[in-house]
């Protein structure tokens, strides 16, 4: 049953061949069984999940219908979910029970989707491997010695291992696309402002965006259509008509112009990933796509600009954790300042502290112009690169990650090396553009490879069209990791 996709499960629920409670029980059984090895979930709360499933069954009996009614979904542990522990992968919030729901959680509740549990993540979404979680890393279901990618590693792991049919993630510099690529699933980061950030614990507010993770583009389109929408409580939410992101899925690819950025196929790209991506391009050309070479000349500056802007915003956002209103407070302290300093020193992990210190530094007196303002100008150059590229093509394609999943511990000692995992993904966040990753084969050690698709602002439906058509030509998205039983 857990191998069925969301549409097949919805059909069974609708035909009363299956109840939501039975489906939730089956997902919970699998999640509980596999979690001891995969560590995909920080919180499973069967009683709460089953209560939601019971409610979904009641709503169906009363005549309600929606493709997600009664479908269990896993939520990255930074979406506030009322009554559930919402830890953000941090000791700082390890006892935080959210007193309200995030906007996207409200939207899923409104259609009757069931909360299966809260997934593991890098602390405060800061990381590319999931190893910065206070609760230990989630594992890559394809190879338990490998990282699942981060920061939405638990969500990617849960979907790839068939614990959950779909999941929510967030992406600040690649945190949906990178784990999707490394775990062999589909994930999309929408245009900035399409999904409300209300109730999503903030990391870098001008870059953070929530999005769905699923096995196929078709399922991702359904999830995105449900979670996207205007929300007046998020001042950056865009007030625009709602969309059916699945409307173009069946559109033929003939004549679609794909831009291949020279800089994404350079020396930093490992050969196994490069050849899987080339093979995907061959499929797409055969399906009628044209390919043109484009240039994103400031690609090399994306990671440096990101590591000024994201920490700067983080240092400001995370100032709220002071041990007063919620979260961790040190057991022993002297005066108020000492209480702040000890609570933050003990409550935050190493990478989070590192980024707060960098952010504090680049915003401090005398350095603001040299670092922060400079990075904002480079951000403009990066956005201009994309604007020029999209004059020559409809969508941009390339690798999501320069390598397949690396071994746990391999990049821990060297933050700069770890940061360079995001070399092809931070650009979309900086420019505010949508980006997605779809599985396109396997590389070294039989670990999955992701194909990245980027579009102009609000081009999600066309990106999902390309992804869906590609998934009609290949079966990478239907492969499942074995040896988990």
């Amino acid at each position: 049953m857990t191998d069925l996709d969301i549409f097949a499960l919805a059909a069974d629920l609708r035909a009363r061949k299956l109840s939501s409670v039975e489906l939730a029980q089956e997902c919970l059984r699998r999640a509980e069984r596999l979690n001891t090895r995969l560590n995909a979930f920080i919180t499973l709360d069967p009683a709460k999940t089953l209560a939601e499933a019971t409610e979904a069954d009641r709503r169906r009996a009363a005549g309600e219908d929606h493709p997600l009614l009664g479908i269990p979904l896993a939520h990255k542990d930074l979406f506030c979910t009322r009554g559930w522990l919402t830890t953000c992968g941090s000791r700082m919030l390890s006892n935080f029970v959210a007193p309200y729901d995030a906007h996207v959680i409200e939207r899923f509740k409104a259609v009757g989707a069931v909360n299966l549990g809260k997934t593991n993540m890098d602390e405060f979404a800061m990381g590319s491997s999931n190893e910065n979680s206070h609760f230990g890393p989630a594992r890559n279901p394809w190879d338990l010695a490998a990282v699942p990618g981060g920061s939405s590693g638990g969500s990617a792991c849960a979907v790839a291992a068939r614990m959950a049919p779909g999941a929510l993630g967030t992406d600040t510099g690649g945190s949906i696309r990178l784990p999707a690529a490394l775990c062999g699933i589909t994930g999309i980061k929408p245009t900035y402002g399409v999904v409300s950030r209300y109730g999503m614990v903030a990391y870098a507010s001008s870059l953070d965006q929530g999005g769905p993770m699923a096995r196929s583009a078709r399922e991702a389109a359904l999830l995105l259509s449900t979670m996207a929408g205007f929300d007046k409580r998020d001042s950056t939410s865009l007030d625009r008509p709602t969309e059916d992101y699945g409307r173009d899925l069946e559109r033929p690819l003939k004549g679609l112009k794909l831009g291949l950025p020279t800089e994404y196929f350079g020396s930093g790209l490992s050969t196994d990933v490069g050849s899987a991506v080339e093979q995907a391009l061959t499929h797409l050309r055969r399906a009628g796509c044209e390919t043109v070479t484009v240039s994103l000349p400031n690609t090399g500056l994306c990671v440096p600009a990101y590591y000024v802007l994201a920490p700067a915003e983080a240092s400001s956002n995370l100032a709220r954790y002071d041990g007063v209103r919620y979260g961790y407070r040190a057991a022993q302290y002297g005066d108020l300042k000492d209480m702040y300093q000890r609570s933050r020193a003990e409550g935050f992990g190493e990478e989070v502290k590192r980024r707060i210190l960098i952010g504090t530094y680049v915003l401090s007196h005398g350095y603001y112009d040299a670092y922060y303002l400079k990075a904002q100008k480079v951000r403009r150059l990066i956005a201009n690169d994309f604007a020029r590229a999209f004059e020559q093509c409809d969508l941009i394609v390339g690798p999501t990650s320069p390598t397949v999943a690396f071994d746990l511990g391999a990049r821990n000692a060297d933050p700069v090396q770890m940061y360079l995992s995001d070399i092809y993904t931070t650009s979309a966040n900086l420019a505010g553009l949508p980006g997605m990753s779809v599985p396109c084969g396997f590389g070294e050690k039989a670990r999955p490879v992701g194909l990245q698709i980027m579009g102009n602002y609000f081009a999600e439906a066309r990106m999902l069209n390309l992804a869906h058509q590609y998934q009609g030509l290949t079966d990478w998205h239907r492969r499942r990791p074995d040896g988990l039983e």
Binding site: T191, L301, K377, V416
Partner: protein, 95 residues
């Protein structure tokens, strides 16, 4: 541009994060290579380029100055480390 131990301690104080002598040394060793990475930005020609602070060119929405939230202070204070008589407790700041 590289940081000194004194810089680290100053930044940590600004960020309100307690650091021991050893932690300050460790932070120094890790932050300097990161600053080296960031330093690459200086090579970019940004003359006349408008800083980009946000992905979308939208202005702040205004709303009527009315209370929109119901009073749920009980729920919100239930997650606080220390509360008494509806007030958050902190160490004494005024003698």
């Amino acid at each position: 541009m590289s940081l000194s131990l004194l810089d680290i301690k100053r930044i940590a104080l600004l960020a309100r994060i307690a650091v021991s002598e050893q932690q300050a040394h460790e932070a120094l060793n890790q932050l300097n290579p990161i600053l080296g990475l960031i330093e690459q930005l200086q090579a970019a020609n940004t003359e006349g380029v408008e800083p980009m602070s946000h992905a979308q060119d939208v202005s702040q929405r205004l709303r009527p100055d009315e209370a929109t939230e119901p009073d749920r202070h009980g729920d919100f204070q239930s997650v606080a480390p220390q509360v008494e008589a509806d007030l958050y407790l902190v160490p004494k700041v005024i003698e």
